[in-house]
């Protein structure tokens, strides 16, 4: 592949600037993937990548994804916390890429807590 230059980037920028708006509105939903050594060893990266993949396919502007450290519940990793405005945070345990996709569609997008995978309410 030819090396992309700064000029190429500028052209892409000009082309796309009109087409899309910034994802900047206030985030109402926060999805945290816990990325301590324990989480990473248990598969948190694959969970995060599935989540990024789903994020790329939605045009919702109010969802923010963050990586954080270990919560101290290493044996239930990978853990994912979903926080929705006005509701208690839900911690999910033993997550996989597929479970993440389900939680994203059902809980994050539609507000239905997936109790089968939930570890706790915080």
């Amino acid at each position: 592949m030819a090396k992309l230059t700064v000029d190429d980037l500028k052209r892409i920028k000009e082309k796309t600037a009109k087409e899309t708006s910034l994802r900047e509105g206030a985030a109402k939903i926060k999805v945290t993937v816990h990325m301590g050594t324990c989480g990473i060893a248990a598969g948190a990266r694959e969970v995060m990548n599935a989540l990024m993949d789903e994020m790329a396919q939605t045009d919702r502007q109010d969802i923010r994804v963050v990586a954080s450290g270990c919560m101290g519940m290493c044996s239930s990793e990978p853990n994912v916390t979903v926080e929705m405005e006005g509701e208690e945070p839900i911690v999910y345990q033993h997550m996989t890429a597929n479970k993440m996709r389900q939680v994203f569609h059902r809980h994050v997008l539609e507000g239905e807590v997936q109790t089968d995978f939930a570890l706790a309410k915080m």
Partner: protein, 182 residues
């Protein structure tokens, strides 16, 4: 860890926890010298001198959520197992650099694995932090700097769909090219 890229993710996350806003990751594969070197440098708060030696002790950790600290111990063990070693260089208040060397074709060396997954997780999981990534295989190399990318996109964040798409496409194309060489 099953892949070296998971060690990289883990050690880079340490840098984020240390308050860094810029992290440099280098994967240097020199097959003529049969060496594979990983470098992860951050500009976080650094490790006090008296704690550097304890950093690879699995039963030492500066955190309070649990009693063990395995990240650097794992990387050190992985390097030593493969005829290499790990070094910690840290200046208090300036940052930390971790260098791990491996014998490239050592039978116990875990594969580098999914570097794209590691970089995307880091970049998208901590969008306010700038990442510089360099992957070199013999004479061929690939570099990505999220600060440059953000500037080229007129200061748009990496979470912007177009910027994300660009980062993803560049990483995929470049890692594929390097993998074909290897």
């Amino acid at each position: 860890m099953k892949e070296l890229s998971l060690h990289i993710l883990d050690v880079a996350e340490n840098g984020i926890s240390a308050g860094a806003d810029r992290i440099r990751i280098e994967v240097l594969e020199d097959r003529r010298d049969n060496r594979l070197t990983l470098k992860i440098a951050d500009n976080g708060k650094g490790i006090p001198t008296d704690q550097i030696d304890r950093a690879i002790d699995p039963f030492y950790t500066s955190r309070t959520t649990r009693r063990v600290g395995l990240g650097l111990s794992f990387l050190d063990a992985a390097a030593v197992r493969c005829g290499g070693h790990m070094r910690i260089q840290s200046d208090l208040g300036k940052g930390t650099e971790i260098v791990a060397e491996f014998v490239h074709d050592h039978i116990d060396r875990a594969p580098l694995g999914d570097m794209i997954g590691t970089m995307i997780t880091l970049i998208m999981g901590s969008p306010t932090i700038d990442f510089e990534y360099r992957h070199q295989v013999d004479d061929d190399e690939f570099m990505l700097d999220t600060r440059e990318i953000k500037e080229s996109f007129g200061g748009r964040p990496v979470t912007d769909p177009q910027v994300f798409q660009y980062v993803m496409t560049t990483l995929r194309a470049s890692e594929k090219r390097l993998a074909e060489k290897g």
